[in-house]
Assembly symmetry: C2
Homo-oligomer: 287 residues x 2
């Protein structure tokens, strides 16, 4: 990709809000690529460590108003919404703002309400992990991953280009998606599986025999990786994508009930037919 906006890295400052897994990984890659990185982070020891190890040059006190300010928000979605107003001045001063959250609807409303449509663009890097926090961050987290850009009305073309260059700088490809469709898709493909994984582990925790834990390899293990994900972030996501997710939960309840009914009725051939159809769908995903 030909760089336009990120060509002269002496001309830009990146301000990362939140140095967790995502924010920390962004800061590490950008500083490695010789950009000036600033950060806001309430965990002082992480902030100091980032300063000492030259991942960042400092915090708000280091803002150089002669340079362009690119603000990257890496907070959990509800934390971002609850603190949006606190950062409003920063957003207005900035040349470019994007986020990294996996729910878009309510954030877009905030952006519109505050007339930030032109320079604030919605991003969602598909680079999460069950490992969370700054200590797990690494400069290659976004390498060869996809970052979704959810374009909205009123966005400046330059903002879109800046966003693409930004993710390209981190090693990612980008993919456009409508914000509403984004929230629907991720409800089903990510948020619902997390609900189910958390539920399966919760159920397992109620079985007292330790023998259960020895035999999770026959299926359960595949599901459980994501049940180790950050509870705060997932509470945020479930709550913010409430309407899509409640619909999907009702739908999965119906699907489970369908199989339950086949089993109850003892109708083996209907059940086998149902599973055959599903296997075909799964195989089509591999193509």
């Amino acid at each position: 990709m030909k760089k336009t906006f990120l060509k002269n890295n002496k001309n830009i400052q990146f301000l990362i809000i939140g140095l967790g897994l995502i924010g920390g990984s962004i800061a590490k890659r950008l500083s490695k690529n010789s950009f000036e990185v600033l950060a806001i982070e309430k965990n002082k020891s992480h902030l100091n460590y980032a300063k000492k190890s030259k991942i960042i040059i400092g915090s708000l006190e280091k803002i150089d108003t002669t340079k362009k300010l690119f603000v990257i928000i890496a907070l959990p979605p509800k934390v971002l919404l609850n603190n949006f107003d606190k950062y409003l001045d920063l957003f207005h001063k900035a040349d470019f703002v994007t986020d990294c959250t996996s729910v878009k609807g309510s954030l877009l409303n905030k952006i519109k309400k505050n007339k930030l449509e032109s320079k604030f663009i919605l991003s969602h890097p598909i680079a999460g992990s069950e490992k969370s926090g700054f200590l797990n961050s690494n400069e290659d987290l976004f390498k060869d991953k996809i970052s979704i850009i959810a374009k909205h009305k009123g966005l400046a073309t330059s903002t879109l280009l800046k966003c693409k260059e930004f993710w390209f700088e981190l090693g990612s490809k980008t993919h456009n998606l409508d914000p509403k469709l984004h929230d629907k898709i991720f409800s089903l493909t990510s948020h619902l599986p997390h609900v189910v994984a958390f539920s399966l582990i919760s159920l397992l925790s109620k079985r007292k025999t330790s023998e259960y834990k020895k035999f999770i390899g026959g299926g359960l293990k595949d599901f459980t990786r994501i049940a180790e994900s950050d509870p705060k972030m997932w509470e945020n996501i479930f709550s913010l994508n409430k309407y899509n997710l409640l619909k999907d939960i009702s739908d999965i309840e119906k699907e489970i009930k369908k199989i339950k009914t086949f089993i109850l009725q003892g109708d083996g051939s209907k059940l086998e037919g149902h599973l055959k159809k599903i296997k075909k769908t799964k195989e089509s995903l591999n193509r």
Copy 2:
């Protein structure tokens, strides 16, 4: 492990009933280890291929009554039950019989009813795969895996020792489990996750936008591998482990409903607390 019963391999014939993934893999390993292997398989082209490539020496016509006959049943659980009587003579003639199914209760009843308790032992190798069938079988399928031996009352000590040696010959360790507990454990750790995985893919198949399929990496993908498993076998398993599985399905419905209610009520801190507890359980599984 010191071999007693499998020491002199000229003295024994193995008869494998069913040359699928499991039976084929057993036959390949045993013939490689210079045992005489016979097989019963309704797919004639697989049977002929196995003969031509010297995986087996033939079928029932090759039984040598001067040798000890070890019968290994590698059929799906309901297929085995439905054909049990057909093989009764064989079982009575045999020196040793075991199976490879993942539901034990109803098979044990058949064994008792036919007074085969002494020489027929329940096995369950934890070596399944979403890939099924003879064409996916391989001699190392059981290497470093665990095979469960579900001991019942009336079993001869020699049968238990033969079974341990048999799985050891294939490269597996063995683990004892009570047959009833076996069915309870595998209902939760394997059969229920399959119900959920099939349900998630069934739901996905109803979404018409192709964009959904591009973004299964954020959670759904983990669940989907097992939805490609053999429909016939899983219908068999779901149906035979009906009572344990229906109970577990009801329990997972309650767990999902719990999270649904927290989301509906908008009670973020309760939801976060619930997810935190689950994360702790998950972490304890890693130890």
